[in-house]
């Protein structure tokens, strides 16, 4: 018994017009970053059964264009906050892959020293300022960061990623209201993949109600964006960043894409029946990575050699990161009582 197709891709796919105005190097960088995230996720997935990453994982395969499109429009000095689905956004913002893999492998040199696990990736130097395993938990914290930025006049903008279920938490609306009230430089990135674990949007928010319109009614500037198209995402976020940086207050982006894998852990779980295998198959036709690669190829920007080069560079980096993590020591037991309080 399989569920019906509930959520179909509503975009227009990649088209040559999307490329106009962008330098080839930039386009290739976007492609490479998406490919890198995809390959990292695939490797994590492939090795998850070994039971050495003793941490819950939430793969971002299918949602790479959001991470890369958004973070490529932010400056390194800008900050982002993550939800539980951390990997793509952490990596796209420049988070250290080795530190991430060590965290997944529960090692001493993990970015959170093995105290946090995969849901608590951060890399302050790269502007990945924090994350929360509590849905919508990092939203007010990001708004507070933006408040500090406004108070100190740093010129920073702050982005916060959360899922479609994030807007079901009251604290989200409290935070949005405050951000609009104070015209804070904060970008709300709602990654709408239509599901929370196995629960479709329809059992959580009324049909016909659109997330971005709710945010509009709260006074935010909003956009609805095809989250499988890295250039659409980048363009939308770039203009949102400019507006936020110019003091025009919070920007809310609803970015629609599909999670190809199960909510947590490895593998697709569509067979379990909560969503249609057809639905998943439909969305896979709009692969953010392959679709963009095809377009670049069609436009003569990407050739097999270059691609092979990218793949091997990425593979080597991943090999090194896994090796680094696996060979790193466990944390010292005394760590459990360190950093409970700050001096």
């Amino acid at each position: 018994m399989s569920a019906p197709v509930r959520y179909s891709y509503a975009g227009t796919g990649y088209s040559p017009g999307d490329l106009s105005g962008y330098a080839p190097e930039f386009l290739l960088r976007l492609y490479r970053e998406m490919l890198r995230i995809r390959r990292i996720e695939e490797r994590i997935e492939a090795r998850y059964h070994e039971d050495q990453m003793k941490s819950p994982i939430h793969l971002v395969i299918g949602q790479e264009a959001i991470s890369v499109g958004a973070c490529s429009a932010l400056a390194r000095e800008d900050a982002i906050y993550l939800s539980h689905r951390t990997h793509g956004n952490y990596l796209a913002k420049g988070g250290d892959l080795k530190a991430m893999m060590s965290e997944l492998y529960c090692r001493k040199n993990g970015c959170a020293g093995s105290v946090g696990g995969s849901m608590h990736l951060f890399d302050v130097d790269a502007g990945v300022a924090g994350s929360s395993a509590i849905v919508a938990g990092s939203v007010p914290i990001a708004v507070g960061h933006a408040l500090a930025a406004q108070q100190r006049g740093t010129g920073q903008v702050v982005g916060v990623f959360f899922g479609d279920a994030g807007v079901e938490e009251g604290v989200f609306w409290e935070s949005l209201n405050f951000a609009v009230l104070h015209q804070l430089p904060v970008l709300f990135f709602c990654e709408n993949n239509f599901y929370s674990v196995c629960s479709p949007l329809t059992v959580r928010q009324p049909e016909g109600v659109e997330i971005h319109r709710k945010a509009t009614a709260f006074g935010a500037n909003t956009m609805l964006v095809d989250g499988t198209n890295v250039l659409r995402v980048h363009g939308a976020v770039r203009s949102a960043v400019a507006a936020a940086r110019a003091g025009r207050g919070p920007q809310f982006l609803e970015l629609q894409a599909y999670r190809w894998r199960g909510h947590g852990g490895a593998g697709d779980d569509s067979k379990s029946g909560y969503r249609s295998t057809d639905e998943a198959a439909q969305w896979r036709q709009y692969c953010p990575v392959a679709g963009f690669g095809d377009l670049l190829r069609a436009q003569g920007l990407l050739d097999p050699d270059l691609h092979e080069n990218m793949e091997s560079g990425i593979a080597a980096e991943i090999d090194a990161a896994f090796e680094h993590a696996i060979n790193s020591p466990d944390p010292d037991p005394e760590e459990i009582t360190r950093f409970v309080y700050s001096p």
Partner: protein, 345 residues
């Protein structure tokens, strides 16, 4: 998390030997049975929570229930924990009997406004005109590498709250019987299950029975000390007692099962015989159940005591995620054996 499944099975307490003809089922199965029975016998009962009708079925507790009882009686909810708590309160005030399930107790922290300021006080505030027969259930997330925000056993934070009942079952038998008792209770009852017990199997009667809320039970009788506590930590204490390290030590082991209201009599009765008290709890040592039980005995059973009280819970630190750190953070057989020996030495 494939590892954790295997790990959990290895951690599950071995089934106690059962009398002939007794039925042995898993902890999860026992809970699922309780929910099905409650839905069957009482049209006022409904079950809700995030994903209760999904393929995972809340650890298997709710698998098949929606199909059997329909979407009006078993349904998924938005991620709105505080409102859902208030909605259950309002429905309960009208005589319905909601059972609200959460994956993890950490999410209860989002609901303290409705749980503490409202659900626990309605009956008192309106002088008995309304009752709030609702159950809030959550499973302690330890051992998934889940970290500081997904592993907390927060019952200690609720211990002071008048009007709430707090239940921590320790066996499949009690899990079923306490769930049925909680659903039949006319007050808000919070049940915290420990994930590491949920793969255990043991004898569980068929049909309806209720384990009284507020009553502890002897898991073992002995004379050297009283070990008092709940849930997985009490299982660890039992194993410690059985280990070579505790050879020759004979203990009363009391499973409180309910930490509010507390079965003071059983605790004092046992300490009257043993003169020594070890309190164990899956929550933090500081300020929670350990502190309350310890203080109670120092207050009402002082003359019975022959040695300092000891408590074993979690250190005053958030739960770490990583496997190696979890080993250091959580009490285990060895640390419990040391506490037991220390108290008798």
């Amino acid at each position: 998390m494939p590892w954790s499944e295997a790990f959990l099975r290895s951690q599950a307490a071995p089934a106690a030997p059962t009398a002939a003809g007794e039925r042995v089922i898993s902890y999860t199965h026992a809970l699922a049975e309780a929910l099905a029975l409650a839905l069957e016998i009482d049209p006022r009962v409904f079950v809700l929570g995030q994903g209760v009708n999904d393929p995972v079925g809340m650890f298997g507790l709710t698998t098949g229930l929606a199909a059997r009882f329909g979407a009006r009686r078993v349904f998924d909810t938005p991620l709105s924990e505080d409102a859902m708590t208030g909605i259950c309160t309002g429905a309960a005030m009208q005589g319905q009997r909601p059972v609200l399930l959460h994956n993890r107790p950490d999410f209860l922290l989002l609901t303290f406004s409705q749980l503490v300021n409202h659900a626990a006080k309605v009956h008192y505030m309106d002088r008995g005109r309304h009752r709030v027969p609702m159950v809030v259930w959550a499973a302690i997330g330890r051992g998934w590498g889940s970290g500081p925000q997904h592993s907390q056993a927060i019952h200690g934070l609720l211990l002071s709250v008048p009007g709430l009942k707090l239940v921590l079952p320790g066996t499949p038998h009690d899990a079923k019987g306490l769930m049925l008792a909680a659903i039949a209770d006319n007050n808000p009852v919070v049940i915290l299950e420990h994930r590491w017990l949920m793969k255990a199997s043991a004898a569980v009667p068929e049909g309806i029975y209720r384990v009284p809320i507020g009553k502890g039970v002897y898991r073992r009788r002995g004379s050297d000390l009283s070990i008092v506590g709940t849930s997985h930590t009490l299982h660890l204490a039992l194993r410690a007692l059985d280990s070579a390290a505790c050879a020759g030590i004979s203990a009363d082991v009391i499973d409180l099962r309910t930490v509010k209201p507390l079965d003071e009599d059983i605790i004092l009765e046992s300490v009257a015989r043993t003169g020594r008290l070890l309190v164990v709890d899956p929550g933090w040592s500081l300020g929670g159940v350990c502190a309350e039980v310890g203080c109670l005995v120092a207050e009402r059973g002082f003359d019975l005591l022959r040695a300092p009280i000891r408590r074993v819970g979690l250190p005053d630190a958030p739960a770490p995620a990583g496997f190696a750190l979890e080993q250091a953070y959580y009490p285990n057989e060895v640390t419990l054996a040391a506490a037991i020996r220390g108290l008798c030495g």
